[in-house]
């Protein structure tokens, strides 16, 4: 399948999803669906770096927050239409990814992972001390009630996130099938051998961190509008950091399907669990699942299914 055939197929599926939820005629499903889609984008973005090149990013919450606060900043300074703000957020967080990668990726993989962990703490410190974007108290972002063509603004935001998910998945799949993807895979399997065979490993790693960071930021950009109130503790919370790693690993990191499966399953599970049990238990469940999967099924759900399929044949 060529990438544009995939894009068309994905768009048709997305349109069907949108029509289906609209037919249910209940705004709760749009909220819940938006959250799940946001995790689809985050998980896919994480997997571009983590799954394809094998470099672990623990700072998903930080990149997500860069996107969120780019919107908060722009909304206060010079409000743009949501798709343009997503582009702006993508540029800013992509640059953060590039800078982080440039400083740490020349060293052993563990240093990059540690630096991303610490990045979240520092960015939170900066945001808390920066009163223009609300500081520790948080910021209110008023969203319009309606918009042309789509009508309800929540439906519009859902549609935007749906489009972003389609773009992220198409990009991930296109990378997988391209020479870029093969380059990434050589880094994951044996970086030393790749370097020795003339693969420009640093350049490829920087492309991966930039792309991955940019998509994470984009996933965060519409967040202030859907929540209407943004506060550092919520944005930098446990939820985003643990989910964007757990979803691809539980789904399977080898291809674009894994993060999609993981995000839909875990995302839906959490939407149900948040309503029925507390959100702390939620994070606990995700953490336990993550540990269980890396020990028992390191190739994720997709890996388990593939294995079962092969045995059957």
């Amino acid at each position: 399948m060529k990438w544009w055939t995939f894009l068309i197929t994905a768009t048709i599926v997305a349109a069907a999803v949108f029509a289906g939820i609209r037919a249910l005629n209940n705004d709760y499903y749009f909220f819940a669906g938006y959250t799940v889609l946001q995790f689809v984008v985050l998980a896919t973005a994480w997997n571009i770096l983590g799954g394809y090149t094998g470099y672990v990013n623990f700072g998903s919450a930080a990149f997500f927050a860069v996107g969120v606060y780019t919107t908060v900043f722009l909304h206060k300074t010079y409000p743009l239409p949501v798709p343009l703000q997503i582009v702006a957020a993508g540029i800013v967080s992509g640059l953060v990814g590039l800078g982080m990668g440039y400083l740490t990726l020349r060293l052993r993989g563990a240093f990059f992972a540690i630096a991303t962990l610490a990045l979240a703490v520092v960015l939170q410190t900066i945001i808390v001390n920066w009163s223009y974007v609300g500081g520790a108290r948080g910021a209110y972002v008023l969203r319009p009630a309606t918009i042309e063509i789509v009508g309800n603004y929540i439906h519009y935001l859902f549609l935007v996130m749906l489009g972003l998910a389609v773009i992220a998945l198409t990009t991930a799949r296109a990378i997988e099938k391209s020479s870029l993807g093969y380059g990434f895979a050589t880094i994951r399997d044996d970086e030393l051998a790749a370097e020795a065979s003339g693969v420009p490993t640093l350049k490829l790693k920087l492309i991966a961190t930039t792309l991955s960071g940019a998509f994470m930021g984009m996933a965060g950009a519409p967040f202030p509008y859907i929540q209407a109130y943004v506060q550092p503790n919520a944005v930098f919370g446990l939820e985003y950091a643990v989910n964007s790693i757990a979803m691809p690993i539980i789904g399977g990191t080898a291809s674009w399907i894994g993060p999609l499966v993981g995000a839909i399953l875990l995302g839906t599970l959490q939407q149900v669990a948040t309503v029925t049990i507390s959100s702390a238990v939620n994070v606990l469940i995700v953490g336990l699942l993550l540990v269980a999967f890396v020990i028992v099924a390191p190739n994720g759900i997709v890996g388990v299914v593939q294995k079962a399929w092969r045995r059957k044949l």
């Binding site: 094998g54 672990v56 623990f58 400083l103 563990a110 540690i114 446990l238 757990a246 993550l290």
Partner: protein, 289 residues
């Protein structure tokens, strides 16, 4: 910038640095020597704080004594975790991605379990010396800082002697360099690594009981220490205990001066800045080869 304020900030920084050395020495062993990237280390520090809090509140035992009493518990926990890590990742050669994700998961599980058990309120301990201060003219040594610092240095010295003077200690230092030679000396590398990792978790727990003397603790405090411990470890030079001590005191002083003159809310950013600077300028660290 007044001289007296600066001097007292430096003193506070040295006291803080001594404590940071206790938090980091475990990472120096696990990350520096064993090459196990245990990002959950600070979570064990906080678990140690809470166990100390519990023992102190229930039985009124001195926090440091309480920390020493529960050491075997954490040694056992560490040995168990290493066993799982070894069987699941190290033996399969998958420690890079899966191993990191494993410790990341443990970090979250520990934090959430603490939230569920104790809530998100700050907890503190009672001891006669908390709140008092030794004063020499213009110099102030708050005992709340001095006692943990001295206890940290004692623990540090004990570990240094253990690692350089005993057979097991030397075997731990050797395990990173030549596992075959270690086998020829009739020492099983896996067993040596298990002992070393268990010790590293035990030091984390004891550092936790020092922490709760210095400041009240809530479950997410640990995350601030992730940047700190790795910054110190890298700054000092991987695998060098002396380097760890120098790095810890350096970070303590810089943080204390920042907190005194620019406000404590900026302190967490200092460690990260130092970490990035070290990685960019001299990745081998101060004592690294």
């Amino acid at each position: 910038m007044s001289g007296e304020l600066l001097l007292n900030a430096v003193i506070a920084g040295i006291l803080l640095g001594g404590f940071y050395a206790a938090v980091t020495v475990g990472i120096s062993i696990s990350f520096g020597i064993l090459d196990i990237v245990n990002i959950a280390h600070p979570a064990f520090v906080i678990v140690g704080s809470y166990v100390t809090y519990y023992v102190n509140a229930q039985f009124g035992i001195d926090p440091i004594l309480a920390g020493i009493l529960v050491l075997p518990l954490f040694y056992g926990l560490g040995a168990g975790i290493y066993q799982v890590y070894y069987v699941s990742f190290e033996r399969r050669g998958k420690e890079a991605l899966s191993g990191l994700a494993f410790f990341f998961g443990i970090l979250f599980i520990a934090e959430v379990l603490l939230i569920l058990a104790f809530g998100v309120d700050y907890r503190d301990v009672r001891a006669s010396y908390i709140g008092q201060s030794l004063n020499f003219g213009i110099f102030h040594f708050p005992l709340r800082m001095l006692v943990p610092c001295l206890a940290s240095l004692a623990m540090f010295a004990f570990l240094l002697i253990f690692l350089t003077r005993t057979f097991i200690g030397r075997a731990i230092m050797a395990v990173a360099q030549d596992q075959l030679a270690l086998r020829l000396m009739a020492a099983d590398p896996v067993k040596i690594k298990r002992i070393a990792f268990a010790i590293s978790i035990a030091t984390a727990a004891l550092a936790g009981s020092f922490l709760i003397i210095i400041q009240p603790v809530e479950p997410s405090v640990g995350r601030e220490y992730i940047g700190r411990v790795f910054a110190i470890c890298v700054l000092g030079g991987l695998g060098s205990l002396t380097g760890t001590l120098i790095g810890a005191i350096l970070l303590g002083i810089v943080e204390s001066i920042t907190a005194t003159f620019y406000g404590p809310s900026w302190a967490p950013a200092v460690a990260f800045g130092l970490l990035l600077l070290t990685l960019a300028l001299r990745p081998a660290g101060i004592m690294g080869r």
